[in-house]
């Protein structure tokens, strides 16, 4: 993993010192809220519905055990004993008090973490495939380039007052687990004639106007990447609309000007700035890459795993659902579900964080990942350690075998916490998970992505859910709109609205009707909900939702 240089540590310490003084001046009344607000937002501090919220970046979703333990300590000491992992690989603390925040930031700095640029009109936390460095289908580990981009974008003088926020995601594999087509810039590492380069996708985004990103370049060589990305952000910085915040994101700029014009402008800008990149960035990149060099994977017997798999049905169900293929023989990627049925998606208690840190240290090369799907990953585990890991997870409510199933729901904090929300998300996610657990149907249903947002800003990625749910305020009542057929992968698609929304009481039965309709019409268990939807279209699902309420009721 990358370790802070003296420069990084000095920069974070200086920012923390500045913010401590700013908080003191605010509390003493020397700064107005108007003056203070942009300063606190630059340091990730929001004021939410019931309290302040501190959003901490987890760069490219990677943590070591020491960092995870520090997050646990922060949760216990200054919050209410838990943290919330988000779709952008951040952790949010929901209950800090203003005078405590400088101490929280100092505690983060001790483990090389910070909250800088987790808010405001800047380049945000660079996210990456949570299987980075471990996935069997990977061309290269996306984290070195994500780290390079993090260093380049942090406090970049040209990009501190962008038209709006700017999000970059990177994947090293063709199978996109980082939702790169729904980011302002999505990067895919590709190989051409033995050379590593990047496919650059631009103008994706969810929110009020969802758009799938468009390919700006099929291949940018490694040495040109930073100037190329800088050219993109630079072009948008000048061209992007500042007159209307709903039209300010790069997706609208690309939409209004067309990808060809943007491409021409980027190339012109690139030609201008390319000579100013002396090559120090490529030297730096090589250094960063060395820091991410994989540790040696051990060769050992997997007999213990195979025996447990044969003899313990609970372990088997967990292994079948929560493991993914690792590139090294005898190894697996462990996905730890933070979606126990009825729990808040993405929440982990301090105790759970410590358990995960211990497991990573003992069995997992000291590495943890946070996925955009709000789960935790142990990326490098030898299969012989899996029964022991599973037994420990089970004791701490972390062994739910539901990765990729209907109860593995993405949900934004919604109106339980968020000041922008128009309805709640968390209780809907809790109820769906509990309902399908009660019906004992989720394994039969198979792969299913339900994604819930509590407002049009779409932090819960509802547009790319197989079933998307959007919570709105309709005449003073919570109302939930359904979209179908969204896809967050390399075949990215925006879901289509089914029709009128449902009340909080009606939404769970409505989802149930959709699922029963799917089970009725699928060609077999191998045809997923999304595949079935693509084959038959909206009509049968619409009928199940609006016309056949009785047929599916009370089953």
């Amino acid at each position: 993993m990358y370790s802070y240089s003296e420069f990084d540590a000095g920069f974070v310490a200086e920012r923390n010192r500045q913010f401590r003084a700013q908080v003191e001046r605010r509390v003493a009344g020397h700064l107005t809220e108007e003056e203070f607000k942009p300063l606190r937002l630059m340091n990730g501090l929001y004021l939410q519905l019931h309290a302040y919220m501190l959003r901490v970046a987890i760069p490219y979703g990677t943590l070591n055990s020491r960092q995870m333990r520090q997050l646990a300590m922060i949760a216990e000491r200054w919050d209410k004993g838990y943290g919330h992992f988000t779709t952008r690989q951040n952790i949010q603390f929901n209950w800090p008090k203003l005078p405590d925040v400088p101490d929280m930031l100092d505690a983060l700095a001790e483990v090389e973490m910070h909250a800088i640029q987790t808010s405001g009109n800047t380049i945000r936390n660079v996210t990456a495939d949570h299987f980075a460095g471990a996935a069997a289908d990977e061309v290269a580990d996306p984290r070195p380039v994500a780290e390079l981009l993090r260093q380049w974008s942090t406090d970049h003088p040209e990009f501190q007052f962008l038209p709006r926020k700017f999000k970059i995601a990177v994947t090293g594999a063709e199978n996109d687990r980082a939702v790169i087509r729904a980011h302002d810039i999505g990067l895919q590492i590709v190989e051409r004639d033995g050379e590593i380069g990047y496919r650059v996708i631009v103008g994706g985004g969810l929110g009020r106007t969802p758009m799938i990103g468009k390919v700006l370049s099929d291949f940018v060589p490694q040495a040109d990447l930073l100037p190329y990305v800088e050219a993109v952000v630079s072009v948008w910085n000048l061209l992007g609309r500042r007159d209307n915040k709903y039209k300010s994101r790069i997706k609208i700029t690309v939409h209004e000007h067309g990808i060809e014009e943007i491409k021409a402008r980027v190339e012109e800008r690139f030609a201008l700035i390319r000579p100013t990149f002396s090559g120090i960035d490529t030297v730096l990149f090589e250094e960063i890459k060395a820091a991410f060099a994989p540790s040696a994977f051990r060769e050992a017997s997997t007999a213990v795993y195979e025996t447990a798999y044969k003899t313990d049905p609970i372990f088997r169900a967990w292994a079948d659902t929560n493991l993914a293929e690792h590139r090294a023989p005898g190894h697996a990627i462990v996905q730890v579900s933070l979606k126990a049925h009825g729990a808040t998606p993405g929440d982990a208690t301090a105790e759970q964080m410590r358990v995960l840190a211990d497991l990573a240290e003992r069995y997992g090369h000291d590495e943890l990942r946070i996925s955009h799907e709000q789960n935790v990953i142990l990326p490098h585990v030898h299969k012989s350690d899996l029964p022991g890991i599973h037994a420990t997870l089970k004791k701490h409510g972390l062994a739910t075998a539901n990765i990729g199933l209907i109860s593995d729901i993405i949900a934004c904090p919604g109106m339980d916490y968020c000041a922008l929300a128009t309805a709640r998300s968390i209780p809907i996610a809790q109820q769906i998970a509990e309902r399908f657990d009660e019906l004992k149907l989720e394994h039969e249903i198979g792969g299913m992505k339900i994604k819930i947002s509590g407002c049009i800003n779409a932090c819960g990625h509802h547009h790319v859910g197989h079933i998307g749910i959007l919570g709105l305020d309709r005449a003073g009542v919570e109302n939930y709109q359904i979209t179908l057929g969204g896809d967050h992968t390399q075949e990215a698609a925006i879901g289509e609205r089914t029709g009128p929304g449902f009340s909080a009481e009606e939404i769970i039965p409505a989802v149930e009707r959709l699922v029963y309709a799917y089970l009725d019409l699928r060609e077999g268990p191998e045809e997923t909900f999304l595949a079935a939807y693509r084959r038959v279209g909206m009509a049968p699902f619409k009928a199940a939702l609006y016309e056949k309420k009785e047929a599916y009721a009370a089953e």
Partner: protein
């Protein structure tokens, strides 16, 4: 024709703790909506809003929230204000767990 004025309370978040507070008749801030001043006159509401907004060293984000008279004091009319006076629905945290005056 302008819409008739409906009753309001003055609400904000406390600067230090960040939690929800309401203005009382006695010019204090309370964490309990039932103890808030229910304002039934538009001119008074404007004046109370100005008074509260000036207290930048105590509170943040002052606004007038709709409320109606209830048995033991003002009650919210919208679910957002109902959540603000109660706390989140996933944990027993926030106001539902801890109620005391500023």
């Amino acid at each position: 024709m302008a819409k008739p004025f409906t009753p309001k309370v003055v609400t904000a978040n406390a600067l230090i703790e960040g939690d929800v507070v309401y203005l009382t008749e006695g010019d204090r801030w309370t964490r309990d909506l039932t103890l808030a001043e229910l304002i039934e006159d538009e001119a008074i509401a404007d004046e109370r809003l100005l008074f509260a907004s000036a207290q930048t060293e105590t509170v943040v984000g002052v606004y007038l929230a709709e409320a109606i008279p209830g048995e033991s004091g003002p009650e919210p009319t919208h679910f957002r204000e109902d959540f603000r006076r109660t706390g989140p629905s996933n944990y027993f945290h926030g106001k539902q767990a801890e109620l005391h005056d500023v």
